[in-house]
């Protein structure tokens, strides 16, 4: 299944590794920040409504 990358294996696998880590971190960070912002706003809105 794994293609024979020959003498370029290190470069090709590193390129895919670096890219996937960067994309994964970006997507994970974006969702985490979105969840935090949603929770923060909900908390402030509840406080200002009841306060």
């Amino acid at each position: 299944m794994m293609p024979d990358l020959g003498k370029y294996a290190f470069y090709v696998l590193s390129a895919y590794g670096v890219s996937l880590v960067c994309l994964g971190a970006l997507i994970w960070g974006s969702f985490r920040r979105a969840a935090k912002a949603r929770a923060q706003l909900a908390e402030i809105e509840a406080r200002t409504k009841h306060g």
Binding site: G6, Y11, V18, S19, L26, E45
Partner: protein
């Protein structure tokens, strides 16, 4: 229906909520499909060997690094001319996405350059303008964080975005403007009759589609986040005054 309707944060949030559930799976299918297709099911290039597989990451990420900045330019111009907060926040939201794309393009370029050119880096016009574009991304994000007042930050970052656009365009056309350096001309072109061989072109097209949709999805999600954070800051400020 007018495009300017979405300058209203509530309408923008609703529109993003409707689009995102479709956009995420579509971008995942195209991106993962394109990369699997390119990595596992395409032959080696007769000259570059298996290193050609880096093309499915390098070209789409470079495409989005440049076009991400150009999207920020349009959003910044809308802010400067029409003072729509959503456009300024969309530009802010796009910067980390574009910066990540620039990092991927630079890293994959170095990893491709070493076996093909014999060097990780060279001060070639395209590479140098791309590095400067990355520094502009960093400066842009730092400026947003450094200024407390949102409107002032939007004004100043918009000006920075206008200046940085010179380098975004240079990184695209440097090869044509200075006929020197190691980097080749554009591999893909919409006006060229033939691109690269179809066996490489179709998976690359899928990967590019995936990167474009992922960029749009991330910018929509992050813009929603910026709108929520802005509202939270406004409510806190009102609390303090009362």
């Amino acid at each position: 229906m007018s495009l300017w309707e979405y300058a209203n944060p509530v309408k923008f949030m609703r529109m993003a909520d409707r689009i995102l559930p479709v956009l995420w799976p579509l971008s995942a299918i195209l991106l993962v499909g394109g990369l699997i297709w390119g990595f596992f099911f395409t032959p080696d290039d007769f000259r570059q060997g298996s290193s050609v597989k880096i093309i499915y990451l390098h070209v789409p990420s470079a495409l989005m690094a440049i076009n991400g900045w150009l999207m920020m330019l349009v959003a910044s111009l809308i802010w400067i001319v029409r003072r729509h907060h959503v456009s300024a926040l969309a530009a802010r939201a796009a910067a980390p996405v574009g910066a990540t794309m620039t990092v991927i393009a630079l890293a994959t370029g170095a990893l491709w350059g070493q076996p093909m050119w014999g060097t990780w880096w060279v001060w070639d016009p395209r590479l140098t303008s791309f590095l400067i574009l990355f520094l502009f991304y960093l400066g842009y994000m730092a400026l947003w964080v450094a200024i407390e007042n949102d409107d002032t930050a939007a004004d100043l970052t918009s000006i920075l975005c206008l200046v940085g656009s010179v380098f975004a365009l240079l990184s695209r056309y440097a090869v044509n403007l200075w006929n020197q350096g190691l980097h080749q001309g554009a591999t893909f072109s919409v006006d060229a009759e033939t691109n690269i061989a179809p066996v490489f072109w179709y998976p690359a097209l899928a990967a590019m589609g995936g990167f474009i949709l992922l960029f749009i999805a991330l910018v929509l999600l992050r813009t929603q986040t910026e709108i929520r954070l802005r509202r939270a800051r406004a409510l806190i400020a009102r609390e303090v005054v009362e």
